[in-house]
Amino acid sequence: MGEFKVHRVRFFNYVPSGIRCVAYNNQSNRLAVSRTDGTVEIYNLSANYFQEKFFPGHESRATEALCWAEGQRLFSAGLNGEILEYDLQALNIKYALDAFGGPIWSMTASPSGSQLLVGCEDGSVKLFEVTPDKIQFARNFDRQKSRILSLSWHPAGTHIAAGSIDYVIVFDVKSGSITRKMVLDRQHLGVTKSRCIVWGVAFLSDGTVISVDSVGKVQLWDSATGTLVKSHVIANADVQSIAVADQEDSFVVGTAEGTVFHFQLVPVTSSSSEKQWVRTKPFQHHTHDVRTVAHSPTALISGGTDTHLVIRPLMEKVEVKNYDAALRKITFPHRRLISCSKRRQLLLFQFAHHLELWRLGSTGATGKNGDTLPLSKNADHLLHLKTKGPENISCSCVSPCGSWIAYSTASRFFLYRVKYERDNISLQRVSKMPAFLRSALHILFSEDSTKLFVASNQGSLHIIHLLEGNFKHLHTFQPQSGTVEAMCLLAVSSDGNWLAASGTSAGVHVYDLNHLKLHCTVPAYNFPVTALAIAPNTNNLVIAHSDQQVFEFSIPDKQYTEWSRAVQKQGFHQLWLQRDTPITHISFHPKRPMHILLHDTYMFCIIDKSLPLPNDKTVLYNPLPPKNESDVFLRRTAHAFKISKIYKYSGTGDEESEVILSIMASSKPARTIEYPVLKHVGAGRMTQNQTVLWQTHSSRKEKLQVELRV
C-alpha cells in the first residue's frame, strides 16, 4: 500500500494550561471553558464535542468566572477587575468593563439572564443589567469585610447566596441587604484551620443553600432560618467547585484531591416521599485539583489543573448507546499548532507566547516496517521567537519555502522574513503592516510562497502578494452582506487558483484567485468543518466534519464527486464514526492521486479511493497480514481505509516530497512527569499577602514562588 518514513517528533513540548472555569449552556448545548492563561474555548456538545471556537488568552487576564447570560451571550470576569463579553460570531472580545471593585472572584447571571452579579475583592457584590449590546452597572449590595468568592441566585431571582471567608451570606435582591449570615465551622477532624474559604455556593428553589469549603465539607443550610441542616465531610483537602442540575435532583462537587463526587436527592425509603441528599458516586478522573464542575442534563463536566476536560455521562440519563454514552477526556486543542515547510523540512511550533522553528533530521538508510533508522543528521532547533506583549498567539504559519513566518495575536499581526546563510539564520520583521491586518484567525501561504492569505475576524479574507522583503495588498474578499461570521479554516490549491475558506457554521466558500471572485459555496452541513484541503491536479476539495464524515467536492465541476456520493450512499464504517477526536489535517500523496491522507489525535489513515469501501462486517483496523499470505488473500480483504494507530498526533501530519511522510507526534501534556504541572499546595490562592506557594509535581522538588499580579 505504501511505505513511509515517519519523523517521530517528541520535542514539541506543548503543555496546555489548566482549566479554571467551565460554563454549560443548555440552550445551545455548548460548553465554554476558560483556562488559567485566559484562553476561552467553546465546545459544541451536539457536534461530537468539537472545539469550534476559541479566544486566545492574555497574560493579565486571569479568568476567574465565566457565565452565559441573555441566552447565548458569554461573559467572563477575572483578577484584573474587568468584565468581558465575547463576540461569538466575529470571535473577538466585544468590550471590557471595569467593575471598580478590585479583582473579581465570582460572577453569575440571574435565572432570567438579564442581570449579572459579580463578587469582588473589596467585599462588594455588584449588580449589572444586561442591555442588548452592553452591560450597565445597576447597584451595589451591602458590602462585606472580605472578598466574595462565590455567588448563586435563588431560581426565583429574589435572593442570592454569597460565599466569603468563614461565612455564607444571603442577600435580598430587591433591597440589597443581608437577610441571613451563616458562619462555617473551621474544624476539620479536630484540627482548626485558620480560615474556612467558601469556594462555592448553590441556592436551591426550596431555600436550601449548599456550600463547599476549604475544610473539605459540603454543607446544606436552611436559608430561612440560617441553620445547618446537613454536613458531609468528603475530602481532606479543599472542595473547590459545585454545580447543580437544572431539575435540582443532583449536584456535583470537585475536590482538590482530583475527585468528583455526585450527590443525588433520593427517597429515604423506597415508599416514602421524603427525600434526602446522598453522596452516590465518586469519580477519579483527574490527577490534580478539580477547579470547576458543570452539570449538563446528561453528564458531569469537570476540569482542573491537570488540563483535562472530562465529560462523564450519567448512565441513568443516557438512553441509547451512542456518542454521548462514552466518557470523554479532551486534552489536545482541536486545531493545528504546527505548520510545515516542505521544501526546507522545517517545522514551526506554536506555543502560547513563543514560536519554535526546527529543522528535521535526515537519514540515508532504508528499512522495513517498524524499524528505527539511524540518523545521518539530527533535528536542529533553529529559532525561538518570543512574542511582544501580553497576548497569546492565536495562529501562525511558515511558508512552504521556509523564508516567511507569520503569526498573529488578538490585536497584532507579525510577518518575518527568514534568511538562511549556511548555518546562520537571520530574521527580519516586515514593518508597516497595513491597518486592516490587525488580527488573524488563520494564516496560509500559497504553494509557491508568493501569496499570503489571512482570515481575519469580521469574516474578511485578505490576499497579500509577497515580494523580496516587501508586500503588496492584492485583494480582500468581504463577507457576504449581512454575515459577520469569522472564517477559521483555509485551504489553497497547489496551482494557486482556488482558495477554500470555512467558518464555524456556514458552508465552505471557494474563491477563484485568478478572477478574484467567489466561485461557489459548498452546501452547508449540520456539523462544523474540522479540516480542509484541496487535492493537487484534480482540485477536489476534501472536507472533514466533526461527525467524522468526509466529503469530496470537485471545485471545477461545482459538485460532489462520484466517490463522495458513493461513500455517502454506503455510509462510513461504524468504528470510523465512533472515533472520538476530530480529523485535524488532510493532505495528499503527490504521486498517488487516488490517496487521501488524514489523521486525528490517535490514528493516521490513508483512504485509497480505488479500493472498495469497508462495510460494517469487514475489519476496519486491519492488522498487518502475515508475510506468507499470497496476494489473493490481500486482494479480497483489502478496503479503502488503511489505518495506523502507532503514533499520536497533536499537531499536523504533513507529507514531504516523494513518498516520505512526516508526522509530528507530540509529547503528552501533564500526564508524564517530564513536563511539570503545578500542583496546588496548601490553601492556594487565598493567602493574605497574595503570595502563593506552588510546588512542581515532578520529581524535581523545587519550589516556585508565583506572584499573583493583582
Binding site: M1, G2, E3, F4, K5, V6, H7, R8, V9, R10, F11, G361, S362, T363, T366, G367, K368, N369, G370, D371, T372, L373, L375, N378, A379, F604, I606, N622, L624, P625, E629, S630, D631, V632, F633, L634, R636, A638, K642, I643, S644, I646, L661
Partner: protein
C-alpha cells in the same frame, strides 16, 4: 454415555440423490449449516435446526459436479469442482453458478478439503496437493503426478495437527492399498504400504482416521466385518520411504461378514465409532455406536429403508441417506465413565437405555470392570438379573423412614444398603430425610447410634452440614473421631464453632486413650478413616530406631519429630483442610486449653519445617495441608492465644523457635527483595537503551 437422539429428515426435493448417494456433506463456517452435494449437478445449503434448505445452486445442464462442495472457512465462500477441472467459488449472495468466479485447472481434481483455521487444500487425481490460494494465483500451473499411474485414490482426509495441515490419502492398485501422508507446510510426503489379512477379499475397504498424538489412527472396515486399526506415523523418521504397516484388530464383527456394499465406519471421538451396515447377514441395515475402549455396543438404530452406505459426522450430527431422505441423527456422548462404558448389548430392551441410573454404586460397579468382551458380557447379564430379582424387595424411601423409627440398628443397616444400591430420582432430598430420621431417633434414644449407616450416608457425598445439623454434634457426643474426620473431609459448610469443637476433641487426652485401643483394631475400622500422612509415621519410625539421637534432640527441641501420634496428626490435618472464616474462628480458638494450643502449635511448626524442607514447599502424601493453610493456622492460634502462651514455660521454647524462624525468613526475604530491586533496575537500564529519544525516523508500512 453415547446416545443417538431422535432422527429427523431434511427435505430432499431439490436433490437428485441417486442410488449411489451423495458426493458429500460438508460443514460451513456457520455451526448449524451444512453443504450437501448430490451426485449430479446440485449443491444445497441446509440449516439443520430449521430442517430446510437455505440455498441451492446447480451447474449447467451437461456439466457434472465431481467433487463435494466445501466451505472456505477463512472467507466464508463455497468451492466446488465440476467436470473434474473447473473450479467455482461463490458466496451466499450469488444466485447463478455460471456467473461466479471460475478457474479452469490443468489437472483433474480428486477432492477439495477444507477445515477450520486454514486455507482449503486441493487434492488432484494424481496425488498432487495445492493450497487454494496458491492455485488461484496461477490456475493453469503445471500439476505433477505424485502417485504411479495405476494407483487410484480411494479415500482422503485432512487434519490440522499442531497448526500444521496434514493430508492423508489411500490409494489402491490391484487390491493393494497404500497410504500417503502429506505434510503441507514442510512438503514432506511419506508413502506406506498397508498390510492386510491374507485370506480377505477386498470388495470394498472403508476408511476413517483420527489424529492420535504423533500418529494417524487409520481405522478400516474390512469385508470380514471387523474393524482394524493401523497407526501411521505423522513424521516419518525413516529414510526409506515405502514402509509397511501392519494392522490390529479393533472391533470384532461389527457388521455381517458377508455384507454387500453399504457398510461404512466413522470415528466419532477417541472412544467411539459409528458403524453403518447390517449387523447380521440377514438383518436390515443398522447404525450402531461402539465404544472402542470397552468393546461395547453403546446404542444402535435400525434403518429399515436401506442406506447408500455413506455416513458423515459433523458437529454432533450424523448424516446419511435413509431411503430417499437425507436423515440427520444428533449424536451425543457424555464423558465416558466406567459405569457408562458397561453399556448395553443389542439384546437388551430399548426402554432400558432411557432410564439411565442417576446414581452409580461404585462398590458394585467396580466389580464389573471388563476384562474381555465375552466375560464382561456375561457378568453384565448376571448383574442385570440380580437387580431385577432384587427390585421388589428394595424398600422405598417411605418404608425406610418407618423402619428407621422403630427397627433395630442391624435391620436399618441392611435396608439402607439395599436402598442405596437402588437408583432413586430425587436422591438428595431422600438422603436428607433419612439422615434427619436417624438423627431424630439418636436424640430420643441415647443408646441408639447407627454408626455404619451414618458413615455410609456421608460417603454418598451428597450430605452437607446444613442438611444434617445434628450429625456432628452427636458424633462429638460419642467422641467418634472417625466420623468427625469424615465429616470434616466431606462437608463444605461446617460452622467455625463445630470445627473448633472437633479440634478441641482431637487435641484432648481422651483421644490418646482411645487411640491405644484402636491401634489393635485399625484393620477393621479402616473404613473412611484415611491413614495419616506417611511422612509422620515414617519419621516416628525413624526416630524409634535411633532413640539416642532422639533423646539428644528432645533436649534442644524436637524439631524433626512429630509431636503427635500419626492418628492424631491425620485428624488434625482434616481440621487444617476445613474451610473457615477468621473472625468467626478466633473467639472459639480462645476456649482451647493452653496446653493443647501448645501441642497444636508444635505440630504445625513441625509441618512447616517439613514443608520448607523441600523445594516445592509441599508435604508428601495424599491431599496434605498446604503451606498457606499451615501458616494461617499458626497465625490464628497465636492471634487468639498469644498472651496465654506467653505465660506457659513449655511454650517458651516453641515461641523462641518460631521467632527465630520468622526472623531468618525476614532476612532471607529482604535479601531477595534487594536482588529483585537490582534486577528491576537492570531491566530499566536495558529498556532505556531501546527507548527512542525525542526524535527518530521510523518506517511505517500500511497494507
Amino acid at each position: 454415555m453415547a446416545a443417538l437422539e431422535e432422527e429427523f429428515t431434511l427435505s430432499t426435493g431439490v436433490l437428485g440423490a441417486g442410488p449411489e448417494g451423495f458426493l458429500g456433506v460438508e460443514q460451513t463456517d456457520k455451526a448449524d449449516q451444512f453443504l450437501v452435494t448430490d451426485s449430479g449437478r446440485t449443491v444445497v445449503l441446509y440449516k439443520v435446526s430449521d430442517q430446510k434448505p437455505l440455498g441451492s445452486w446447480s451447474v449447467k445442464q451437461g456439466q457434472t459436479v465431481t467433487c463435494p462442495a466445501v466451505c472456505n472457512f477463512q472467507t466464508g465462500e463455497y468451492i466446488v469442482v465440476h467436470d473434474h477441472k473447473v473450479l467455482r467459488i461463490w458466496s451466499n449472495e450469488d444466485v447463478n453458478l455460471d456467473r461466479v468466479f471460475k478457474a479452469t485447472l490443468s489437472a483433474e481434481v480428486h477432492r477439495i478439503h477444507s477445515v477450520q483455521r486454514t486455507e482449503p487444500l486441493v487434492l488432484f487425481r494424481r496425488g498432487a496437493v495445492r493450497g487454494l490460494e496458491a492455485l488461484l494465483a496461477e490456475p493453469q500451473q503445471n500439476i505433477e503426478a505424485v502417485i504411479p499411474d495405476e494407483e487410484v485414490i480411494r479415500w482422503s482426509e485432512f487434519f490440522m495437527v499442531f497448526k500444521q495441515p496434514v493430508l492423508i490419502f489411500i490409494t489402491e492398485k490391484h487390491g493393494n492399498y497404500f497410504a500417503y501422508v502429506q505434510l503441507c507446510k514442510s512438503h514432506g510426503l511419506s508413502k506406506y504400504t498397508l498390510l492386510l489379512g491374507k485370506e480377505e477379499k477386498f470388495i470394498k475397504q472403508n476408511f476413517t482416521a483420527r489424529v492420535d498424538g504423533k500418529f494417524i489412527s487409520l481405522v478400516s472396515l474390512s469385508s470380514d466385518g471387523c474393524a482394524y486399526e493401523t497407526l501411521i506415523p505423522l513424521y516419518s523418521n525413516d529414510a526409506e520411504n515405502n514402509q509397511r504397516l501392519g494392522r490390529a484388530l479393533m472391533l470384532k464383527a461389527v457388521v455381517s461378514g458377508g455384507a454387500r456394499n453399504g457398510t461404512t465406519i466413522t470415528i466419532l471421538d477417541q472412544d467411539h465409532v459409528a458403524v453403518l451396515g447390517p449387523p447380521l447377514p440377514a438383518s436390515k441395515e443398522c447404525l450402531s455406536i461402539w465404544n472402542i475402549k470397552f468393546q461395547t455396543l453403546q446404542t444402535s438404530k435400525e434403518l429399515p429403508q436401506g442406506t447408500s452406505g455413506q455416513l458423515w459426522y459433523h458437529g454432533e450430527a450424523l448424516f446419511m441417506l435413509h431411503g430417499k431422505c437425507l436423515t440427520v441423527i444428533p449424536y451425543k456422548c457424555e464423558v465416558s465413565s466406567l459405569a457408562g462404558a458397561l453399556g448395553k448389548l443389542k439384546h437388551t430392551q430399548e426402554s432400558d437405555s432411557h432410564s439411565m441410573p442417576h446414581f452409580v454404586n461404585w462398590v458394585t460397579c467396580s466389580g464389573y470392570e471388563p476384562e474381555s468382551y465375552s466375560t464382561e458380557q456375561s457378568k453384565t447379564l448376571r448383574k442385570k438379573n440380580i437387580e431385577i430379582n432384587l427390585q421388589p424387595e428394595v424398600p422405598g424411601a417411605k418404608q425406610l423412614l418407618s423402619i428407621i423409627k422403630k427397627g433395630s440398628e442391624k435391620h436399618i443397616e441392611v435396608e439402607l444398603r439395599k436402598f442405596l444400591a437402588k437408583s432413586t430420582p430425587d436422591f438428595h432430598t431422600v438422603i436428607g430425610d433419612i439422615v434427619a430420621g436417624l438423627l431424630e431417633r439418636c436424640k430420643t434414644e441415647p443408646s441408639f447410634y447407627p454408626r455404619n449407616c451414618l458413615v455410609q450416608l456421608i460417603q454418598t457425598r451428597v450430605l452437607s452440614y446444613s442438611l444434617c445439623p445434628g450429625l456432628m454434634e452427636i458424633a462429638l457426643e460419642h467422641t467418634d473421631v472417625q466420623m468427625l474426620q469424615l465429616c470434616l473431609q466431606q462437608f463444605p459448610d461446617i460452622p467455625e464453632s463445630t470445627t473448633c469443637a472437633c479440634l478441641k476433641l482431637f487435641l484432648s487426652d481422651t483421644i490418646q486413650d482411645e487411640q491405644k485401643e484402636m491401634e489393635e483394631q485399625t484393620e477393621i475400622v479402616q473404613n473412611g478413616f484415611s491413614p495419616e500422612d506417611s511422612s509422620c509415621s515414617k519419621d516416628s519410625q525413624q526416630l524409634n530406631k535411633k532413640p539416642e539421637d532422639e533423646a539428644k534432640e528432645t533436649v534442644s527441641f524436637p524439631v524433626t519429630s512429630c509431636p503427635v501420634a500419626p492418628k492424631r496428626a491425620a485428624l488434625l490435618n482434616a481440621v487444617l483442610h476445613s474451610a473457615y472464616s477468621e473472625t468467626f474462628l478466633l473467639p472459639h480458638l480462645k476456649d482451647i486449653p493452653a496446653k493443647h494450643i501448645t501441642l497444636f502449635l508444635q505440630y504445625l511448626y513441625f509441618l512447616y519445617l517439613k514443608c520448607s524442607g523441600n523445594a516445592t514447599m509441599t508435604l508428601p502424601g495424599v491431599s496434605p495441608p498446604t503451606l498457606s493453610q499451615i501458616m494461617d493456622w499458626i497465625c490464628l492460634l497465636l492471634d487468639a492465644n498469644f498472651t496465654v502462651i506467653l505465660m506457659i514455660p513449655e511454650a517458651k521454647r516453641l515461641l523462641l523457635n518460631l521467632y527465630k524462624f520468622v526472623k531468618s525468613q525476614i532476612s532471607v526475604y529482604s535479601e531477595l527483595n534487594k536482588i529483585e530491586v537490582s534486577f528491576r533496575e537492570l531491566q530499566k537500564l536495558s529498556q532505556d537503551k531501546s527507548s527512542r529519544g525525542l526524535y527518530s525516523i521510523e518506517v511505517l508500512e500500511l497494507f
